[in-house]
Symmetry: C2
Subunit: 411 residues, 2 copies
């Protein structure tokens, strides 16, 4: 007897149409017929609802930035550009994409521990804010700005002396390659000011993918206190403070939605009690996964149904080359099942235990392990949910000569 | 005090030139100046030596196949095509690449659990051997062949009822999506013969990346016995049996080179004692990583040197987007350090403990964790060894807008 393993929770709001999963009002088989398989489908409607809910929950004056590393697909990025207050980039390549998607340079900020000289030059030329991550990077940016006769816009990325509890990835609270240790911040900011550059403020990112409102509330309070302490040490108010992100989404069995209403209420209260030095500062949160993750679905067609030693395998035309994280091979210690379904039989009851695998010739290529599913056969379509963030670009598309999946933004 | 973690063993035969690591007689800084950074450098000389040593150790009549999934870089693939007896592919995309590299269709075989109809058609048209992995795939191949008026060349991939002990990835000995369970093989082979297709034999792959000669010897003996048993059940001698691979390379501290002389001697003895039904069968081993892994080095330039809470970080312009496995994020439970060095100071003694990280804005992007290295600074070049297999194409090149590394085959 095969033990069934649970799958993660399917995000709320996905419905069926003619018995199939529908995204943006189009049923899975129609999407795949029209756009090919495997296919990433992103729902603009879901993006909009997510942003509206977030705006309603967060303080009115809080800027919401989109960290495009989560999903740089051009139509999706263009859609986001019109709906958020800033685009956060992580490379010169992303800068090119953000500008092509219509982002205003004044609303773009660039973070990353290893920015090459040509990337700094590109960023200074475009007039975007660079989050400076080390004293030597600061020197390089000032030198490049001077050589170009252009005043660089520089914020300081801080390595906070605390982390985001329960976060999937810790970005603070220890020795890190990201940002500057707290004791280096004030002298570097003074140096930026003395050099005549445009000092924009702070970028403080303590972790990502947390589902606990309490943890995020505590981190935001610590972040505000740290910003005030640093501004006081510098002796100047920052124009802007990026409070980081950390808002997670449920991927796995037992995960629950983050309570953004509680986070927003707490942050509103914190922003009402700011010390004078932050009274005129503009604050932002930077979200990637939280904004786009649940808006995307990966659809892949079943090529073979086979039984080995009594276990059923559904072999798809997709796999880890598009869904590395779902396969359990990207920053995961213990593999767990992402939310998954037979999209072409979305209303059917589960009736068997199956493993859904990709087409790659490696045992790593497993999309769902011993999951309860309705009976599916060759030609049926599998859906992997939470595919809107860290899917296509976070996977080795060319592995085994496969190539990229199609992507489409639907209503 | 930071605890130093060991790095894996640098493959034998790498030397310095003017104090720098040299590959194909060219020093690291010259390679990077000429071809850019980050850069994969593959040494044709090392490929040739590896193949020669292997031929010397293995039985004279044994075919050696290259599994191009390990590294499909066109100049390297073309080089291999002229030196091995067959090319093993895993997709239609790889078939296109193999033909472009000059491989003869009669020497190509195609394995993979999820072959699409268009891939089967492409393979039948080209005249390559298809390793059939399920009864339904067999039906599809026969149907497509009939519709094309072409006789397909079909082998049967067997899911062996044993695994390769100590292998990094087990491909047998349980319920698997790969190949057919043993009891399905004879009826499927009979069906292929009855349909008038060209039945080529068996493909039996029990696991990969093993360093124990004893384990490989045992598996090869089991594989030969299984092939004899299956051929007897079918009542026909197979023209060809692919014995799989499994030859590993040392990546981590404590790993030792596989003793191929022992493997070869044992296999020679086994091939001398074959039952009559295999007396005229041709045998092959299929190797990817073992042939090309140690021939490749990944070079990446240091962009920043920073100290956080007393720990030194060398930030490079490369990272997990080219070296996913070295970062510890691809099929690894506990991260360990690949062999690494400061290529531009290859002769210098280690004098400090540093973490070498990539340029991506994620804590996953770590190339070497608290390793002992000579003092290095901005502009120095890091080498990650064992980069010839499962590097460039097994990594998410477009993550964070970075793009692919350069690749070069040198003498």
């Amino acid at each position: 007897m095969i033990k069934t393993k649970p799958t993660g929770p399917i995000p709320a709001g996905f419905h069926s149409f003619n018995g199939e999963l529908a995204v943006g009002g189009q049923q899975a088989s129609a999407l795949v017929s029209q756009h090919g398989s495997p296919l990433f489908v992103y729902s603009a409607g879901r993006l909009d609802v997510r942003i509206e809910q977030l705006r309603a929950a967060m303080p009115r004056d809080l800027d919401i930035h989109y960290a495009m590393k989560a999903n740089p697909f051009q139509p999706l990025l263009s859609h986001m550009v019109g709906r958020v207050d800033g685009i956060d980039i992580a490379s010169g390549g992303e800068l090119t994409m953000a500008l092509a998607a219509g982002a205003e340079p004044g609303k773009i900020s660039f973070a990353g521990p290893g920015k090459r000289d040509d990337e700094l030059e590109q960023a200074i030329r475009a007039g975007v804010t660079i989050n400076i991550e080390s004293p030597s990077e600061c020197e390089r940016a000032l030198r490049i700005g001077a050589s170009m006769g252009k005043r660089p816009r520089l914020a300081i990325r801080v390595n906070p002396d605390f982390d985001l509890k329960g976060s999937g990835m810790k970005m603070g609270g220890g020795a890190k390659p990201f940002g500057m240790d707290v004791d280096l911040v004030a002298p570097t900011a003074r140096h930026i000011l003395d050099a005549g550059a445009d000092w924009r403020g702070f970028h403080i990112f303590a972790g990502s993918q947390a589902l606990s409102a309490d943890a995020i509330i505590e981190t935001q309070a610590q972040t505000l206190a740290l910003a005030a302490r640093l501004a006081t040490a510098i002796g100047q108010s920052p124009d802007h403070v990026n409070l980081g992100g950390g808002f997670g989404i449920p991927y796995f069995p037992g995960d629950e939605q983050l309570d953004i209403a509680r986070v927003g209420t707490a942050l509103s209260n914190q922003l009402k009690q700011l010390p004078d030095i932050l009274a005129n500062t503009r604050f932002a949160i930077e979200l990637g996964r939280y904004l786009v993750g649940e808006a995307g679905v990966y659809l892949t067609r079943i090529i073979d149904r086979k039984v080995s030693q009594g276990q059923v395998f559904l072999v798809t035309d997709g796999g880890l080359h598009h869904q590395l994280a779902a396969s359990g091979n990207f920053g995961t210690v213990v593999r767990r099942n992402y939310p998954a379904a037979i999209a072409s039989k979305f209303d059917a009851q589960s009736s068997e235990t199956v493993s859904i695998v990709g087409c790659l010739c490696t045992p790593l290529d497993r999309l769902s392990d011993n999951a309860a599913m309705p009976k599916a056969d060759v030609g049926d379509i599998v859906a992997i949910f939470c595919a809107g963030a860290y899917g296509a670009t976070a996977s080795p598309a060319n592995f085994l000569g496969q190539g990229a999946a199609s992507e489409i933004l639907v209503a």
